[in-house]
């Protein structure tokens, strides 16, 4: 069982009625909404909190990429990850550094992504976990100008180029539709022989098939309600794995879940609730359906499936006015005392065969003291219970090895 801390970098000082009057992506007015000193604070708070997670003993630190977004100011998370690589190294801490990840349906510079991952792996002494989401539609199509129907073909070509760039021993020519390079021979290469790859996805069968074919980890985000939307997706994944002859190693599945832990249930709901509510409202709640899929972004069969049965998107359409109690009921966030949170996570891990957990420990306006408190309680109380449950539920006895964990310099 591996447990990582995952954070985005929101601007924490958005007005209470932000979602009612603004989009969270593409068009929010930077100079109207942001005070320079507070944006600097948001960046430092993020780094301070991630260092705290490393110090209290999380197995790793996770980040992802969004551009032109008020709820996640990480247009290149590798920059923050590089800072954390050195800062942890300097303190003798060795958490895994998971970038889950760089959006390949969006990037026009896939070799730069390969180079940056290699650099972070070198600075950290082989602690990098890579991730390559396709990208959300708004990010590749609206922010980057990629025609929606080219998002997936670009993703496919970019990942093929990166795979080769990381490992091929001799310089090679690459003649693709989107990338043409006469000589590819990146310096540096990763410190690890093979970079583990965790691929975030929301359950599109074509994407899952690709993840299994490439023998990567499927990382599922629980923001839409892990049981409401997730059950069908987890079943789809494990059925497909069996059909494709992949083993049932729970480390093939990682799960991202927002959690907040307090001394008691009551205290946790009181302290974290308002921040979590505005966090969800100001992110997904302030996006349009077009932000999640311009015409051509989804395959024609995918559009029909969504039109027939929007379950895969769970609570997304309701996010603008969602209440904290609705979020808790659907487990979009798991909040409470150590016992309350641990038990829900233990049940999810057992029911869905989850090998790695990324716990999202900050959201919305949640300030640093609360984040650190939650992280400490998770480390002291929740993680030991999770490790014990791993023994009790039989996964340890099954003898699985984590084949997708950084191997360091060895």
């Amino acid at each position: 069982m591996k447990v990582l801390a995952f954070q985005q970098l929101p601007y924490r000082y958005l007005p209470d009625d932000f979602a009612a009057h603004n989009r969270s992506v593409v068009t929010p007015s930077y100079f109207d909404l942001v005070e320079p000193a507070k944006m600097h604070e948001a960046h430092i708070n993020f780094l301070d909190e991630m260092m705290h997670a490393a110090r209290v003993g999380f197995d790793g630190l996770g980040v992802t990429e969004h551009s032109q977004a008020a709820y996640d100011v990480l247009p290149n998370p590798n920059l923050e990850l590089a800072a954390l690589a050195y800062a942890t190294q300097a303190e003798g801490l060795t958490p895994a550094l998971a970038c889950v990840g760089r959006s390949l349906g969006k990037t026009k510079e896939p070799l730069r992504v390969a180079e940056e991952f290699s650099v972070i792996d070198q600075i950290s002494g082989g602690r990098m976990i890579a991730g390559f989401p396709i990208s959300l539609s708004y990010d590749s199509n609206q922010n980057q100008g990629i025609p929606p129907i080219e998002t997936r073909p670009r993703f496919a070509e970019n990942i093929a180029l990166i795979d080769r760039a990381l490992t091929e021993p001799k310089p090679f020519a690459f003649n693709g539709k989107f990338n043409k390079h006469p000589y590819v021979n990146i310096w540096p290469r990763p410190a690890q022989k093979k970079l583990p790859v965790w691929a975030p996805a929301v359950g599109n069968p074509v994407t899952l098939r690709g993840i299994l074919e490439r023998d990567q980890v499927f990382l599922y985000p629980g923001w839409f309600g892990p049981r409401q939307a997730g059950s069908a997706v987890f079943k789809r994944y494990w059925d497909m794995a069996a059909e494709m002859g992949r083993d049932a190693n729970p480390y093939r599945l990682a799960f991202l879940q927002t959690v907040a832990v307090g001394e008691t249930d009551e205290e946790a709901h009181r302290d974290y609730g308002p921040h979590l509510q505005n966090g969800f409202r100001n992110a997904f709640g302030a996006m349009t359906m077009q932000d999640l899929g311009l015409a051509g972004y989804h395959d024609i069969k995918g559009v029909e499936a969504i039109a027939r049965n929007p379950v895969d998107f769970g609570l997304v359409p309701k996010m603008k006015t969602i209440t904290y109690s609705e979020l808790v009921d659907a487990q979009c966030c798991i909040v409470g005392s150590v016992e309350t949170v641990a038990q829900q996570l233990i049940d999810l891990v057992k029911d869905f065969r989850i090998g790695s957990l990324l716990l999202m420990t900050q959201m919305g306006s949640m300030p640093t003291p609360l984040v650190k408190k939650s992280m400490s309680l998770i480390a002291e109380g929740v993680i030991p219970r999770l490790r014990q449950a791993w023994k009790d539920n039989g996964f340890e006895a099954e003898g699985w090895k984590h084949e997708w964990w950084p191997t360091g310099l060895s």
Partner: protein, 274 residues
């Protein structure tokens, strides 16, 4: 697709193109000299304007590869806008349509103009209707807003007054059988997505540099209140295409062939006969 009270296409030609990789469907109606119609981003929608043209012409309306129902992945055989132009030229040549008149709406107008520019002998006459293809900093393309608008905003986006534009309401009426809605939504969305390969984020492939090559006699029509392709571009097309005529309809949006059905039909037929 087409609406009630509309005669629509009478037959199809299926043309093997692109080295046998793509079967291009061309919908055909009418009798008389050949007229090729190039459809807009939403896909081929057979309307009263095409019915009217079919009274005097044999109208050939090729469907962009990927937009024909049942063959969505044909679009993946195309890598670029120039592949599209080559495929259309091949289709027209195989159907013996060299020397035909060409009418194109919006994206279809850009395609018709570029075919005329690349192949100056291809069309005898050219009628772009609110065509894309140019860029002006002071009159930017409305394509990004078109694609990012919610479906409910579409009628207001495409028409100056969709409540009075003939045929506009029925264009947005979903199929009567609700069971068919998911497939309908999927097809309509995919067609726009296919067109988006060539339109997103805005369609500027350098047509401005090529307008001077157009030898076909050209009539440029535009709606004054066009929110997709700004009417300011009409003058640029007019100045760029040698010997061209231009007419801008007032109180008219992007789909001028519906919103100004009678005027546009009259003006186009008059121009083509001259």
């Amino acid at each position: 697709m087409s609406g009630d009270g509309i005669k629509g296409p009478q037959r199809d030609e299926i043309v093997d193109a692109w080295g046998g990789e793509i079967k291009v469907r061309v919908r055909v109606a009418g009798e008389g000299p050949p007229l090729v119609y190039f459809h807009p981003a939403a896909g081929l929608y057979w309307d009263r304007f095409l019915d009217a043209l079919a009274e005097d012409y044999t109208v050939y309306a090729p469907e962009m590869p990927g937009t024909t129902p049942g063959d969505p992945y044909a679009i993946y055989k195309l890598d670029s806008y120039y592949d599209l132009l080559l495929i259309y030229e091949e289709v027209l040549r195989k159907l013996g349509l060299t020397g035909a008149a060409a009418v194109g709406q919006s994206m279809g107008g850009m395609v018709a103009c570029d075919l005329a520019a690349f192949y100056p002998d291809l069309f005898a006459k050219l009628v772009p209707l609110g065509p894309c293809g140019l860029w002006r900093d002071d009159a930017p393309s409305g394509i990004p807003d078109l694609y990012t608008s919610a479906p409910q905003a579409m009628p207001g986006f495409l028409f100056h007054d969709f409540r009075t534009a003939p045929g506009a309401m029925e264009m947005f009426t979903p199929p009567p059988n609700p069971e068919m809605m998911p497939a309908f939504i999927a097809q309509v969305t995919w067609q726009q997505g296919v067109a988006g390969k060539f339109l997103w984020p805005f369609p500027d492939y350098g047509l401005r540099k090529r307008l001077h090559r157009i030898a076909a006699k050209t009539l440029i029509l535009w709606g004054e209140n066009d929110r997709v392709t700004p009417a300011a571009h009409a003058e640029d097309f007019h100045k760029g295409i040698p010997g061209s005529q231009v007419k801008v309809y007032s109180a008219c949006g992007h789909i001028l062939q519906m919103e100004k059905l009678h005027e546009a039909t009259h003006d186009v037929k008059f121009f083509l006969k001259a």
